[in-house]
Symmetry: C2
Subunit: 542 residues, 2 copies
Amino acid sequence: MLGLMQDWPLLCHRIIEHAARIHGKQEVVTRSIEGPIHRTNYAEIHKRALKVSQMLERDGIKLGDRIATIAWNTWRHLEVWYGIMGIGAICHTVNPRLFPEQIAWIINHAQDRIVMTDLTFVPVLEKIADKLPSVERYVILTDKGHMPETTLKNVVAYEDWIAEADGKFKWKDFDENTAAAMCYTSGTTGDPKGVLYSHRSNVLHALMANNVDALGTSASETMLPVVPLFHANSWGIAFSAPSQGTKLVMPGAKLDGASVYELLSTEKVTHTAGVPTVWLMLIQHMAANNLKLPDLKMVICGGSAMPRSMIKAFLDMGSNVRHAWGMTEMSPIGSVSALKPPFSDATGDTRLDVLQMQGYAPFAVQMKITDDSGKELPWDGKTFGRLKVSGPAVAKAYYRVDANILDEEGFFDTGDVSTIDEDGYMRITDRSKDVIKSGGEWISSIDLENLAVGHPAVAEAAVIGVFHPKWDERPLLIVQLKQGQQATREDILKFMDGKIAKWWMPDDVAFVDGIPHTATGKILKTALRDQFKDYRFPNAAA
Amino acid sequence: MLGLMQDWPLLCHRIIEHAARIHGKQEVVTRSIEGPIHRTNYAEIHKRALKVSQMLERDGIKLGDRIATIAWNTWRHLEVWYGIMGIGAICHTVNPRLFPEQIAWIINHAQDRIVMTDLTFVPVLEKIADKLPSVERYVILTDKGHMPETTLKNVVAYEDWIAEADGKFKWKDFDENTAAAMCYTSGTTGDPKGVLYSHRSNVLHALMANNVDALGTSASETMLPVVPLFHANSWGIAFSAPSQGTKLVMPGAKLDGASVYELLSTEKVTHTAGVPTVWLMLIQHMAANNLKLPDLKMVICGGSAMPRSMIKAFLDMGSNVRHAWGMTEMSPIGSVSALKPPFSDATGDTRLDVLQMQGYAPFAVQMKITDDSGKELPWDGKTFGRLKVSGPAVAKAYYRVDANILDEEGFFDTGDVSTIDEDGYMRITDRSKDVIKSGGEWISSIDLENLAVGHPAVAEAAVIGVFHPKWDERPLLIVQLKQGQQATREDILKFMDGKIAKWWMPDDVAFVDGIPHTATGKILKTALRDQFKDYRFPNAAA
Ligand SMILES: Nc1ncnc2c1ncn2[C@@H]1O[C@H](COP(=O)(O)OP(=O)(O)OP(=O)(O)O)[C@@H](O)[C@H]1O
Ligand SMILES: Nc1ncnc2c1ncn2[C@@H]1O[C@H](COP(=O)(O)OP(=O)(O)OP(=O)(O)O)[C@@H](O)[C@H]1O
Ligand SMILES: [Mg+2]
Ligand SMILES: [Mg+2]
């Protein structure tokens, strides 16, 4: 027997409709690409999003068509975000930090019909435009006064474009499983893969993210997403904030410490979210200038693991801090390291220990860890295995890739390796492609890296597995020293000795001038493995 | 094009599975019907719910079968709640405060196959048992030691019953639109009507309720639902609390001021929810004994409007307080009077003014007000009209009633009359059946009642419309005086004069010894209208 409740599809644009109706005057503040601080509100954004929809329809865009955005976090990006989804087209956020060839590859793979871009990216698009046959026109997210001279095809200034619409337009209802948005993975472990979100998955993810123990913002608080709309669905914040009527502060193109600090401070931001590299810049800027952020209640950090020192710096500042672990394929939130019993009131090292983990799954995310054969492993906080997840906001396939990516129980292999403890706290110990398999046992490259960066002379460390005739693989520690600092192989190994199991000790240390990173700031181990592909351990018999 | 996200049905039992896995050790504390305080946790409740499912299957219960519960809030009620839903049967919570004939009518209408009941209700069930042909067996929610002598058919003690199950049982997946639970309305305006919740609607409602500006509890907080599981789906708390890992404190049969106070205090409850009559008893008990509740952060009040004095009493105590408006047909939350801009930091009378309203809709509830012809009315805080709602947790039909209850836009008429202001705050001014239509204009009976109870001698007041030859209807004020207090018709009318529009003034005042109430504590105007059906205004020409 079916229930007798209303058929009310979970559609993304209903979120901005709700925000406009109930929280219409709530502000959205942006550091505009053109320079000045721009202020608008949810009612205005909703109105202009309707105009976007109207213009897209006039330009012949239909249900299921892909529209690329290559843009920073701004109110205009938010308008096109909802305007695209409102007519059932697909908002494809492209990461502009990728190499131009990658950007071209992704746009071609997605077959985007229109590209909407910030001024910043006009030059790079001009360079690749002739390799983008599917693109019919370019919309530059600016006004007439700021329009550049450009060779881009069929180009129009956003403000001119929507000025042609009268806004008398109604969004339609359709199946909640309709595709709404598309985001490619960061390309840390190989080529980026396309994830196709549905309206349903995005709305459910927003509701999940709104939980007090996740992002949990209210209509009386302010969120600054440093994480861009093009990175892992901006952690769902473009949905969760308006769904709750939270004030949004959009940082535009300037993500350096001083710029982010300025917005956090002047807009009295209570919640913010971003990757560790951004927080490092903020903390350094604040320390150097002896600055405070008395309104900042919560810093969410994801994308990569936060060093313990960073967690401590935020706590010392009087802010709470939470790890969020997730991935593009999970919309992206998979876990949040909120404190809960028995740690709700933990202090000192215990608190740091908990916050250093990646946290526990909110309702509607299911987790398991398994060995290579798929057998479930215990939640004891020690055993580590492949982390697999399931939920309504988790991918079941990649766009235009004809392969089953779920196991028999419907779980998706995250490619991460982790432990889970009896309280549900998960700790990432590695990527499955990076874990070092020494004589059949696993060594966590991340644990070794975390330990090595504790040495005062080490700026950054990366560990990769290198072929070993006896053990199959052994860890090679690659170190970049801090400027002006010195340390030898022996210094560093001695520092690590005794802090880990003997057989985890790296077989060698290699010093490099710089460690390569992805567009989202992660260590690019594929490049390191390439760089060290001819390396052989001195102690390994040939 | 459809998205590529997992098909993960929103099923109620996934909530308790999640709670068991992630928050397994979180406590559920009950004042048991047998007397002592009982402590268990989510992991145990999950285990025992599986046994309930196993036994129900053994007893031949199938997908879609109705199982009645007539029980207080206890851990056992929670176990059968999830155990019933876990196999796709329907948990039908029956309000034991109804008259025995009403209980029988409801059980027959639902065609319940098993009745699970607390010790408290064995006597009343024995009296009506021979009128319940669909019921095959009775499960008494107690253990062998407390089993009464009873004539109930095929009776078993709950603990004996589940002791037969080994718990090796797996809940199945099914369509999320499958019916999960059933609850009849309170019967304030007529016969109770059956609302049939789906798994989807209950899960979505829980996610909504978890928003910071709604119930918003975390895994580090404690919720005491005074509102029973049988009243309007217990405001969703049996879903929202475990979904977040919130500690639950269940008050069992004792809802008097002293008992509720004791649990709030000893269990350090942070959030509680109930109807105004319960809060009145609590406040009186605390005042009389000079008691405090330093841990209590939030009191949620719904079912009827809170008097201003009650709101003030809680604020003075240092607790926050929020109106929740809703109805059985809405799962039930429709609005919550959380403070939001421009009122986030409101104090004094402004704060009271906002909290006295019924609040604004969370995301996934849509509201409109219309006139009798269905035309939408403005959100100006003054115009009042029929309040209509839509959302995934709003009913589209009643159980076994073959009538369309939605308008062309898919909205359900709540039967309430309200204003909505430009910030989205809604204020109930009446029931549409109670609103007084005087010469084509509407007079709010609730506004008149609120004003009349402000008179120091008035204990309770009710206003009904009475036939008037010239104006169709005019207001009659019915008053119950406080014990030992005196006031005349003229005293009371004089007190009201000048505080409302002249034409709103009641045409007469009638004094009664008691005002009739429903099982959930609401004024029963149907009974009053019956009582005064032969009344004629003295000033009305025949
Ligand atoms: N809080 C965190 N702590 C540690 N690692 C994290 C955290 N959050 C995310 N990650 C890492 O980031 C990954 C998800 O990142 P993203 O979806 O941006 O692409 P990617 O996995 O880096 O790239 P690709 O899948 O293309 O190789 C996770 O699988 C995990 O390895
Ligand atoms: N916070 C509140 N303030 C004022 N009234 C409220 C509030 N919450 C609920 N109500 C009233 O209670 C009603 C819903 O109650 P419920 O579903 O228990 O049954 P009922 O409407 O009283 O009974 P019936 O529908 O059978 O006549 C609402 O329609 C509204 O009139
Ligand atoms: Mg990945
Ligand atoms: Mg009703």
